[in-house]
């Protein structure tokens, strides 16, 4: 299965590269791929912050000085302060080039510069976001190749598509199929359609890759884990034997090197410092557990020739040839059906052909609007889950299977309950009788039981 996963991994890489390249080249006409854009954005953000801070500190100091001295500080002091601030300022405030000598200058400079810095920031933000999404997309894509998690695949896909959505929002030239081609072959060979198809193919291939991995990997892991566990177990018992014989055991590093740390049963023992130390001998429980497990496993492997295969579930490994074949046929069917159905939905001619629309709609501009696809998309989309629901109803599906008790078992259970109820009843009856007798005895003061007396005496003391 490893080979299949690798083939699909390469296919995933190819489709992702294709998708990314198409997005890059189709947006290139907008001249947005300035490689300095992220740097510009960061600098603009800091200059904006610097402007805000300069304005705030300058106003605050002036206010404080006025509060303490009783008058507005003169221009020399303000100028001196602002010079000092700007000297020690690493990032020059946006639009401020010289120290200003009074507060009114600072205010007017702030008002005039804030609007321009915000506009610059707005433009830079979009440029930055294209790069950010591209970066996130690539990072998630690389993660998906290693971690084999659908979240990374979905994230990478959405990140790359988000670049186009942002560009569309910014009213840039983005790939579009307007007007929608009425010829199927023209539609198929269109660059935009190829981008959509390659994007879809990326998802399909990546999910197939995850499938191939998740079907084959657990079995391989299982075998590997079992090997490690058995090895760790044997090493632990050998080590214990050596300690018991009084031989020196140099390190306890075996746990890490042989993968015993992945073996919770032993790991627990190691964490409690039981295996591998002289004091360990005192803790007989943990040692005997490890040793007994070793004996149990040895016996099992000796007596049952299939035991090892069953522990590794070797027979469950699926055939690679079948997985490749079914991947190709499954994907081909999905591609063809998706393209055909999408073309039918989006082509206005098909709509006109299928539905006898009233002339008002038929000759209106509404027919060329994207929303018109909802007319067919919603019912057809819902038809698939509905069909599957109907199939589910008709096929035999038991959700929860409860084991039925045999007649004897039921009878035994009933008998047991009856017996407990009887005992409970008897006990309650006896308790009542005892309480009654005690009450009666209390009434006859002369007849005090000597045992009761002894108890009372004991408690009185």
């Amino acid at each position: 299965m490893r080979v299949v996963t690798w083939i699909l991994r390469i296919a995933s890489m190819a489709t992702f590269a294709g998708m990314a390249y198409f997005v890059y080249s189709l947006l290139d006409s907008n001249d947005i791929w300035h490689w300095a854009a992220p740097y510009d954005f960061v600098v603009t953000v800091f200059r904006l912050l610097s402007l805000l801070l300069f304005f705030m500190t300058s106003t605050m100091i002036n206010g404080l000085a006025a509060a303490f001295s009783g008058s507005v500080p003169n221009d020399v002091i303000v100028g001196l302060y602002n010079t000092l601030v700007l000297r020690s300022w690493y990032m020059q405030p946006y639009g401020v080039s010289d120290p200003m000598t009074n507060l009114a200058d600072v205010w007017s400079s702030f008002q005039s510069n804030l609007a321009s810095v915000l506009t610059a920031l707005w433009d830079n933000t979009f440029l930055f976001l294209y790069f950010l999404f591209a970066g996130i997309g690539i990072a998630l894509f690389l993660q998906s190749l290693v971690r084999m998690d659908h979240k990374f695949v979905g994230g990478a896909f959405l990140s790359i598509q988000s670049i186009l959505i942002l560009a569309a929002y910014k009213l840039l030239v983005v790939p579009n199929l307007d007007p929608f081609p009425s010829d199927f072959l023209v539609f198929l060979s269109n660059n935009v359609q190829i981008l959509a198809l390659i994007s879809f193919a990326y998802l399909e291939v990546s999910y197939q890759m995850i499938y191939s991995y998740s079907v084959g990997k657990p079995i391989e892991d299982r075998e590997e884990t079992l090997k490690k566990q058995l090895l760790a177990l044997r090493q632990a018992t050998r080590k214990q034997d050596a300690i018991e014989r009084g031989e020196k055991v140099s390190t306890t590093g075996m746990s890490r090197t042989s993968g015993a740390t992945a073996f919770s049963f032993l790991r627990e023992a190691i964490e409690r410092k039981i295996v591998g130390t002289q004091d360990a001998l005192e803790n007989l429980d943990a040692i005997s557990d490890v040793r007994r497990l070793q004996i149990f496993v040895d016996e099992l492997l000796q007596t049952d020739s299939k035991a090892k295969d069953e522990l590794t579930a070797k027979a469950a490994s699926p055939s690679s040839v079948y997985v490749i074949g079914s991947t190709i046929t499954g994907s081909a069917i999905r591609f063809l059906s998706v393209i055909a159905i999408a073309f039918i939905f989006l082509n206005p001619n098909v709509l006109i052909l299928l539905l006898s629309l009233p002339p008002g709609i038929r000759y209106s501009i509404e027919l060329l609007q994207p929303e018109i696809i909802l007319l067919l998309l919603v019912p057809i989309l819902l038809a698939f889950p509905f069909a599957s629901m109907v199939i589910t109803w008709f096929s035999r599906r038991e959700i929860v299977e409860t084991e039925k008790l045999t007649k004897e078992e039921k009878e035994a259970e009933r008998q047991r309950k009856r017996e407990f109820a009887r005992r409970r009843k008897e006990a309650a009856k006896a308790r009542k009788a005892r309480a009654k007798a005690r009450k009666r005895r209390k009434g006859l003061e002369t007849e005090v039981d000597e045992w009761d007396k002894a108890l009372e005496e004991t408690y009185r003391r």
């Binding site: 659908h150 979905g154 598509q161 186009l164 959505i165 569309a168 983005v174 790939p175 579009n176 199929l177 307007d178 929608f180 935009v192 981008l195 959509a196 994007s199 879809f200 999910y207 998740s214 079907v215 299982r222 079992l226 566990q229 557990d289 007994r292 149990f296 496993v297 299939k306 069953e310 579930a313 469950a316 699926p318 059906s337 998706v338 159905i341 999408a342 994207p370 929303e371 696809i373 998309l377 989309l381 698939f384 069909a387 599957s388 096929s395 599906r397 038991e398 959700i399 929860v400 299977e401 084991e403 005992r423 006990a427 006896a430 308790r431 005892r434 045992w451 002894a454 108890l455 004991t458």
Partner: protein, 440 residues
């Protein structure tokens, strides 16, 4: 049912569609349609093929009765009895939370062809006595791309009875072997002089002694009449009363007062059976849950283990009911060892003891002292420390009073903690043997 992955694709599809509508862009619409159609197009086919009723799961275990701490292999067989293959099937076989997965894994994910089967196994360590259930087995079937799934729970339960731990017995046997003195190391036999065939010694003749016992040779040597004395080994009858009231469940898990009491009962029964003594066990709280009369049948040990395995700490201790139940069924004089924390009101306890002594039985109480089984005082803050010490003192005072009251009936009370519980029970038994309490 739609999976998380399916929801992600739906979200992406809807996002692209709405973007397409907002920006009048057919590329977004086309991609959105691709995603949504791709999500549902194979759904009817999946529903048709993934008939989960076509999967059969069978679970096999080596033993249904094991000791706590023993290992158990679980084999799970998954069969595809339908005529279709299942692309992705996940099987999770559940096991009790307190048990430990020692070797292997309790789940598998694979594809399964029609008519074929997958077998996997794993090894568990049974922890803590009681009645446990392995299962149910959860089968999840997913489509190839993981957009949809069906779930089914099969083969609900396999019952396993876990006996109390056998490690104390094993340890005692190991100790005996190490000293090379056999299993009976340190044991003292209960002897009755006068009968039997083992020679003890000589004593002076007193009128009324049988003539056949006179040892003529020795008499001739001594010049006085002496008779030969013989002795015979006698066995004793012990009944272990295990209190399973709610308060006995206090303490650390696996180290509660009840667990120690059960371990003590197991050890006592084992030692007794080894020496051919009769040991009975009664498990009680507000009713008698089970009573195994004293006996030496081959299965006696297992009966005791089964009675103790199902003991759960709940209810309150009704000593009177317990004693009346046991006394009714016990004709011979017996030695009763109570394993109880004495946390009920003393009057019923004293009444029970009165009934017991009145019937000619002997008794002693081995009582786990609550605070010694709970969190060590060292772990407490200053306020908790003072409080716990105050509570301990109060309890200790109360216990002393009970002990004084019981002493009047010649019933000793031994307060025990986790460390000395088991040694105390062995010591008690040895002393009973030496003194010849409750011989039969």
């Amino acid at each position: 049912m739609i999976t998380q992955r399916g929801f992600v694709v739906t979200f992406a599809g809807v996002l692209l569609l709405t973007s397409g509508f907002s920006f009048v862009n057919f590329y977004f619409i086309l991609l959105g349609v691709y995603l949504l159609i791709g999500l549902v197009v194979t759904l009817p086919l999946f529903a048709l093929t993934a008939n989960i009723a076509g999967i059969e799961v069978d679970r096999q275990i080596d033993k249904v009765k094991v000791f706590s701490g023993d290992f158990l292999r679980i084999r799970v067989t998954i069969r595809n009895i339908s005529r279709r293959h299942f692309d992705f099937i996940e099987v999770h076989d559940q096991y009790p939370e307190t048990w430990i997965l020692a070797i292997g894994e309790n789940f598998i994910a694979s594809r399964i062809e029609p008519g074929s089967s997958i077998i996997f196994s794993y090894i568990l360590q049974a922890r803590m006595r009681g009645r446990y259930f392995i299962g149910p087995t959860e089968v999840i079937m997913r489509d190839r791309l993981g957009f949809h799934y069906y779930k089914r729970t099969l083969k609900a339960h396999t019952e396993v009875l876990v006996y109390p731990t056998w490690k104390d017995v094993r340890r005692m046997e190991a100790l005996g072997k190490q000293r090379q003195l056999g299993l009976m190391f340190g044991a003292h036999r209960t002897k009755t002089v006068g009968m039997g065939s083992d020679f003890v010694g000589f004593r002076e003749y007193v009128p009324g002694d049988e003539f056949r016992l006179i040892d003529w040779k020795t008499s001739a040597k001594r010049g006085d009449m002496v008779i030969k004395q013989f002795e015979m080994e006698k066995n004793i009858q012990v009944i272990c009363m295990v209190d399973t009231s709610g308060s006995m469940g206090n303490g650390y898990p696996e180290n509660t007062k009840l667990e120690y009491a059960i371990r003590a009962a197991v050890l006592l029964t084992h030692i007794g059976l080894e020496r051919k003594d009769l040991i009975g066990t009664c498990v009680f709280s507000d009713i008698v849950h089970s009573y195994v009369p004293p006996g030496t049948r081959p299965n006696h040990m297992y009966d005791v283990l089964e009675a103790l395995a199902g003991a759960e700490p709940r209810g309150w201790s009704d000593y009177e009911t317990a004693i009346s139940y046991v006394v009714q069924q016990t004709k011979k004089r017996s030695f009763f060892i109570w394993l109880t924390d004495l946390e009920e009101s003393p009057a019923p306890l004293l009444n029970a003891m009165k009934a017991l002594v009145a019937n000619g039985h002997k008794a002693m109480v081995i009582s786990p002292f609550g605070p010694w089984f709970e969190a060590p005082v060292g772990q407490f803050g200053p306020v908790e420390k003072v409080l716990s010490e105050a509570v301990s003192e109060e309890l200790w005072e109360r216990r002393n009073k009970i002990a004084q009251a019981l002493a009047r009936f010649s019933i000793p009370v031994v307060n025990v903690g986790p460390e000395d519980f088991l040694p105390t029970i062995i010591k008690t038994y040895e002393q009973a043997k030496q003194k010849g309490v409750a011989m039969f």
